[in-house]
């Protein structure tokens, strides 16, 4: 065994983090956001937006925006998307402020209700106007929640799709597949949140992780750009002996993947593999080979890999792709947007001095939740909505305004760059001189007992010299 005295340094392009904001809208969105924050997320800011003050107050997000102070008066939108939209219109200034200075905005919402369905499309529109790349992560309601709610959700999804660069859509009905039938209902919802959290975090990581082979916005967009398409998303992580295989299996198990069957129809697939310093080329090779079995020969694979000291022993795989809704590959989706925003490229990004614009914690007036008995406001919720057609409704003045915001946004500061990698001690890479081989059992299922691969000869494992 040879030990290299000099360790290879990781690429130093760590400095320029791309400002990413995660915006959650409505009750379901806030739940998902809490989960994201609890699961641990660095290198992105979170913004919580809701009409319901009570749920906003309990959110862990640092930056909160209350919608429709006059329209809903601190209560929810009551399942009415129109009311949610009105509330968002009323607070559009605040939203715009909250969205400023981000290159990429991820919008999480549960569609079907009031705030999520009503406000999310408008927020996506404002985000695009602010010059950011917009990805939507939305859930569709369970089918038992009723046809009305489902119809609202579909409508909202259509509108959101017009504004966002891509929408990743989780159907709650599909979630049922990953939840054991005996699990409690809270677990079913929790697993939906977990899935959203996982996908949001992995997309942030894909973009932010210092890559050996880096994946940029352009790759991400290329993989996701399908109008009304079905998004394929899979994430797997493992630290077992056979981690490359296990991580991929887990990624393909994701309900949005349909066990990898869907991949064969995809035209482009983005694959990102991240691991600790111990990740080997052969592991990546094995993984890609295995993935190759699930994809078509014509499929373009956008491949990225990153070494992240924090990953430790783990290896993670993220697979992102999308299918055209009608089998038609339409790549011009972006141009049909009401506001043509150039797709930013991460390579333009330069570290810049910090300005004070960024995310000063909002001083939202937070009324004590039980202050007003909700019954007083019941009539207000039933008020006929102020007649204004649903979006797209962008006035010219807004556009001008937004472009200035966008310009401002582009020269946005990079808030903090404190990569943990730098703190890690330079690790010596261990080069295996004699590959551990399993000989005849190379292709069979390994016999792993008590953490040892027993197919490897005993004398090799115990380091006993036989000759």
């Amino acid at each position: 065994m040879i030990q290299l005295s000099k360790s290879y340094s990781l690429p130093d392009s760590v400095e320029d983090f791309i400002p990413i904001k995660i915006v959650s809208v409505g009750g379901a969105g806030l739940n998902a956001l809490d989960r994201i924050v609890l699961d641990g997320l660095e290198r992105a800011e979170v913004v919580a937006i809701n009409t319901d003050v009570q749920s906003l107050a309990s959110s862990v997000a640092a930056h909160k925006v209350q919608l429709g102070r006059n329209v809903t008066r601190g209560l929810g939108a009551g399942g009415d998307p129109e009311l949610g939209y009105q509330a968002a219109v009323e607070s559009s200034e605040e939203i715009r402020e909250a969205l400023a200075n981000a290159r990429m905005i991820l919008i999480c919402a549960g569609l079907g209700g009031g705030t999520g369905s009503g406000a999310a499309p408008l927020i996506a529109q404002l985000a695009r106007e602010a010059g950011a790349l917009v990805l939507g992560f939305v859930t569709l309601p369970f089918s038992f929640e009723g046809k009305r709610r489902n119809a609202q959700a579909r409508e909202a999804l259509d509108r959101l799709d017009q504004f966002a660069n891509a929408v990743i859509c989780f159907e709650n009905d599909q979630m049922a597949e990953i939840v054991p039938p005996k699990a409690g209902i809270h677990q079913a919802f929790a697993s939906a949140d977990m899935l959203i959290s996982q996908s949001v975090r992995s997309i942030v990581n894909v973009i932010q992780r210092p890559g050996l082979i880096r994946i940029g916005f352009d790759d991400l967009l290329a993989a996701l750009r399908r109008r009304n398409g079905r998004c394929l998303f899979g994430f797997g992580e493992s630290d077992s002996d056979n981690r490359a295989h296990d991580a991929l299996t887990q990624a393909l198990k994701n309900p949005l993947m349909d066990r990898g069957r869907m991949l064969s129809d995809a035209a482009r697939i983005l694959v990102h593999i991240a691991g600790g310093p111990g990740m080997t080329l052969s592991e990546v090779e094995v993984l890609m080979q295995e993935l190759g079995r699930h994809v078509n020969e014509q499929t373009q694979i956008l491949f990225g890999t990153a070494v992240d000291g924090r990953m430790g022993n783990r290896l993670s795989v993220t697979i992102i792709s999308s299918l055209a809704a009608d089998g038609d590959i339409a790549l011009d989706g972006v141009t049909s947007l009401p506001v043509a925003v150039p797709t930013p490229s991460i390579w333009e990004q330069q570290p810049q001095p910090q300005t004070s614009v960024d995310s000063v914690p909002e001083s939202i007036p937070m009324p004590e939740p039980p202050r007003v008995p909700p019954i007083d406001f019941a009539p207000i919720e039933q008020e006929p909505p102020i007649a204004e057609p649903a979006p797209p409704a962008t006035s010219l003045s807004k556009k001008a305004e937004s472009s200035s915001v966008a310009a401002q946004g582009r020269s946005a500061p990079v808030k903090k760059t404190n990569p943990v990698e730098e703190k890690l001690p330079a690790k010596q890479e261990v080069l295996q001189f004699e590959p551990v081989t399993r000989g005849r059992f190379e292709k069979s299922e390994p016999t792993i007992v008590e953490g040892e691969d027993l197919d490897v000869p005993t004398y090799l494992r115990k380091n006993i010299k036989v000759k």
Partner: protein
């Protein structure tokens, strides 16, 4: 000859496929009519990995057995192994109604199905549920409770289960030939039927069936099966170790293991060399005997120690009055009984089938233990089944098998 007296055992092993044709006699003995075998390909660690190839090999072995025994084989008992097999003990319990205190057959059926109501993983299927003992009102060790008085009847079962799809692979392989599958049997359980006497089961005995791809074990205490399982390590691993350690081809390593191998260390003089003659595609080589033995010894010691650790999880090892019985092809390796005795600190011996008549000399070989054991199993099952005629492939209770 009535055809229902004819029983055929088929073992799809990792190194060879073995078919034994036997005939059940009215006096309860078994006569072996013929043994067919074929080298096995497409099987690794007791499980089929190349379906087509394995099927051809099974076909060869069946044809061989048909020729040698001069009978037409229609249905077989199949032995299964593989690391996916798992086992545990479970107790079922029924309370008799207030107005009745004599235990009848229905109560026994109830307690059996009650013991069976345990959750195993969804993809698994029951392979065996074997009765250990009944308890009547807390009285231990009841063998047959029917007719006894009591309010509470409990039954201890040993349950063996495995992955449904993998078990079905073996079944499918036979059915495609096409042959009927009468039953599937855990291979060590079959071996135990033939290498152990009733007396040895009562005393307590451990059967280790070391085959080409797997090491299966069954532990008996007080006449009932207590522990069983399968380790996916076998003679193939030794061959592989030799091939890699001495850098010789697999085929030569296998031959060397069989002809010269031993797992006893310190038994040969330094400089004692084995000459491998040159062969087409293989230049001759000299190998130190001690090196060869060290490789074998390390692997077998590790395997047996692993087995001991597994069995130590429950304390039945202390109840083994009968000792350790090693069978299977790998047990032919020189010194294995000695090594096992040293590791388990119990008397150990290599055994083979000995309770048959007919072609005795041909089958007195540990390699055939499982296939002959299948016949013994079949005999016990048929005796038990005849009055009722229920026969499902999965999930069965036979009081005849212990």
């Amino acid at each position: 000859m009535a055809s229902n007296n004819l029983m055929v055992g088929l073992e799809i092993g990792t190194s060879k496929i073995c078919v034994v044709v036997g005939e059940s006699r009215t006096d309860g003995t078994v006569k072996i009519l013929g043994v067919g075998q074929a080298p096995s390909r497409g099987v690794r660690k007791g499980e089929i990995v190349d379906f087509e190839t394995a099927m051809k090999c099974v076909h060869e072995a069946v044809v061989d057995a048909e020729q040698k025994s001069d009978v037409m084989i229609r249905s077989v008992y199949v032995a299964v192994a593989g690391s996916h097999l798992q086992s545990f003990n479970n107790r079922g319990c029924v309370m008799l109604p207030e107005d009745r205190d004599e235990i009848d057959e229905q109560d026994v059926e109830d307690v059996k199905s009650n013991a069976r109501e345990v959750s195993i993983p969804a993809q698994n299927a029951f392979l065996h549920s074997i009765i250990q003992h009944y308890h009547v009102d807390g009285q231990d060790g009841v063998l047959n409770p029917i007719g006894m008085s009591g309010q509470k009847l409990e039954a201890d079962f040993h349950i063996i289960h495995g992955m449904r799809t993998r078990i079905q692979n073996s079944i499918r392989c036979v059915k495609e030939l096409p042959l009927e599958v009468e039953d599937v049997v855990f291979s060590a359980l079959a071996s135990a039927q033939v290498v152990l006497t009733k007396n040895q089961k009562d005393l307590g005995a451990l059967v280790i069936d070391m085959g080409g791809g797997t090491t299966d074990y069954v532990l008996y205490a007080d006449g009932a099966i207590r522990q069983s399982g399968c380790l996916a390590i076998g003679g193939d691993h030794i061959t592989n170790d030799i091939s890699m350690g001495l850098r010789i081809p697999m085929a030569r390593a296998e031959k060397l293991k069989i002809e010269e191998g031993s797992c006893i260390l310190g038994n040969c003089l330094p400089g004692d060399m084995i000459l491998l003659k040159d062969d087409s595609g293989f230049a001759g080589k000299e190998i130190e005997r001690e090196t060869l033995n060290t490789i074998i010894h390390l692997r077998l010691r590790e395997t047996l120690e692993l087995l001991k650790r597994r069995l130590d999880e429950e304390s039945y090892l202390n109840y083994l009055g009968g000792g350790i019985f090693i069978t299977g092809g790998c047990s032919l390796l020189n010194g294995l009984d000695y090594l096992a005795g040293e590791i388990f600190e119990l008397p150990a011996q290599v055994v083979h089938a000995h309770t048959t008549s007919g072609l005795t000399s041909a089958v007195e070989n540990p390699q055939f233990s499982t296939a002959i054991g299948l016949i013994k199993y079949a005999q016990a099952v048929q005796r038990d089944r005849r009055p009722r005629r229920f026969g499902r492939i999965f999930g069965k209770f036979f009081s005849g098998i212990r």
